[in-house]
């Protein structure tokens, strides 16, 4: 594996390989064991957009493996404000680092970066496009909690139109054979190409506008944020957001083995009372960003 750009590029075997390696990284990620396989290596971490989990977990992953991190978060103090192209920024950073992790507001930025970089590029989100390391940590969490990646009923809930996480996850889950339900407000439905792909692969379950309709048969309730800025009328937003608020009453209608996931940050779509329920796995999911990114860094830099 040279670059990590899109979930579309990853085969089932490659995904399983990453997840297996991530499992082996768990004790190191928790600080219970030491591994310095990336000692002397440098990660270039360039974030043109805000990020909490992705940036910090990449940096933690690199540090846990004995490597160092350079980079920036926000472009205010960089030559980007002087009009430097992304191509030039990548040429320069790739000369300083052994791999580059990139978040950028434009779709296709990571693909462009591969053309100008002498070192591996890891896509940490490009606009509304791909965020493959998020998808891999989602799959890791599902396998960890459910013991498998196939034969599951997954309900994706929230803004399915603009949420890049759910597009990538739907594609990735369809590589394994699952049933995928789509629950979204009107106007924020899953894009046609994703639905067509699910239908063509026989993995489309139900599309509906309320989670109550699918909860009884859901193994994984994957919740995403409904962004206020998508609604011109704040009253309309409040009405819609209220219907998608996940609370203990709704969670208890699902099977006992059901888990609740969320890529975070959440605003108010999962009420805090759910956090203490055994079904709540979103903070475990956020932690899993570390072992999964450790696995990826060791593979692309360490040649493991």
């Amino acid at each position: 594996m040279r670059h990590v750009i899109s979930v579309h590029d990853l085969s089932v075997e490659q995904i399983k390989d990453v997840l297996d390696r991530a499992e082996g990284m768990l004790p190191i990620a928790r600080g219970e064991a030491v591994n310095d396989c990336l000692r002397g290596k440098v990660l270039g971490s360039i974030f043109f957009e805000p990020s909490t989990r992705t940036r910090l977990s990449f940096e933690t992953a690199m540090n846990r493996l004995g490597g160092g991190v350079i980079g920036f978060a926000g472009t205010e103090a960089t030559s980007v404000v002087k009009g430097e192209t992304l191509a030039d920024t990548i040429r320069m950073v790739s000369g300083y680092a052994d791999a580059v992790v990139l978040r950028h507001p434009r779709e296709g930025a990571a693909k462009l970066a591969t053309e100008f970089s002498g070192v591996p590029i890891l896509n940490a989100g490009d606009g509304a496009g791909q965020h493959p390391t998020q998808t891999l940590l989602d799959l890791f969490t599902i396998r960890q909690e459910m013991g498998r990646l196939e034969g599951l009923n997954i309900s994706l809930v929230g803004d399915l139109r603009y949420g890049r996480t759910v597009h990538s996850l739907a594609f990735a889950l369809s590589k394994f054979g699952n049933t995928i339900n789509l629950v979204s407000p009107e106007g924020l439905e899953m894009p046609g190409e994703v639905v067509e792909h699910l239908e063509a692969s026989g993995q489309f379950g139900t599309a509906c506008h309320t989670p109550e309709k699918v909860i009884a048969n859901t193994d994984i309730l994957y919740v995403t944020r409904i962004q206020k800025e998508r609604f011109p009328d704040p009253v309309e937003y409040e009405k819609v957001a209220g219907k998608y608020r996940i609370d203990p009453e709704l969670v208890s209608k699902g099977p006992d083995s059901m888990i609740v996931m969320h890529p975070l940050p959440r605003i108010n779509e999962i009420v805090p009372e759910v956090d203490v329920m055994p079904q709540a796995k979103y903070f475990t999911q956020a932690f899993n960003g570390v072992p999964v990114r450790m696995a990826l860094l060791s593979m692309v830099i360490g040649g493991a």
Partner: protein, 152 residues
């Protein structure tokens, strides 16, 4: 008394692109990017013997390569290419959609990195299904309204 007038002169040596979708002749010209000093005839919304209407383009003194001719299929998939020598058709073939198109098109996604001031050439790949859609190599989105995405 009746006399037939040809709307467009015959050509002795050159290329005739026939069966262009009606009103698409100018898009075909843009795709081909032919220089303005060539003699050409453009027939728009002509009656087709097969029924309906079509556009026709004739270029005097220009012999299109198969690669150039196939670009026509980007905007008019059923066009036929006729190579004329000495007033006769010496070669006739259908335009075939190229598997990869570099340059020529711009991505219809305004947020695609290929629409920024970066030192790259746009690239689109023909989808694997029969829908004649092109997918941007950078943002992975289908190009929408392809004829309008031809660079001037």
């Amino acid at each position: 008394m009746s006399q037939k007038y040809m709307k467009v002169e015959r050509i002795e040596h050159g290329t005739v692109i026939d069966h262009i979708l009606p009103s698409m002749a100018f898009d075909v010209l843009r795709v081909l990017g032919l220089s303005r000093d060539k003699t050409m005839s453009i027939l728009v919304n002509s009656h087709s013997k097969k029924g309906g209407r079509k556009d026709i383009l004739k270029f005097e003194g220009v012999e299109l390569s198969a690669e150039e001719a196939n670009l026509v299929a980007l905007v008019s998939p059923k066009a036929t290419i006729n190579i004329i020598v000495g007033g006769k058709v010496v070669k006739k073939f259908n335009a075939e959609a190229p598997p990869v198109v570099r340059g020529i098109l711009t991505c219809s996604n305004p947020n695609c990195i290929s629409n920024q001031d970066e030192p790259i050439t746009t690239e689109f790949r023909l989808g694997k299904d029969e829908s004649h859609r092109y997918v941007c190599t950078y943002c992975e989105r289908d190009i929408v309204d392809l004829a309008k995405r031809v660079s001037a």
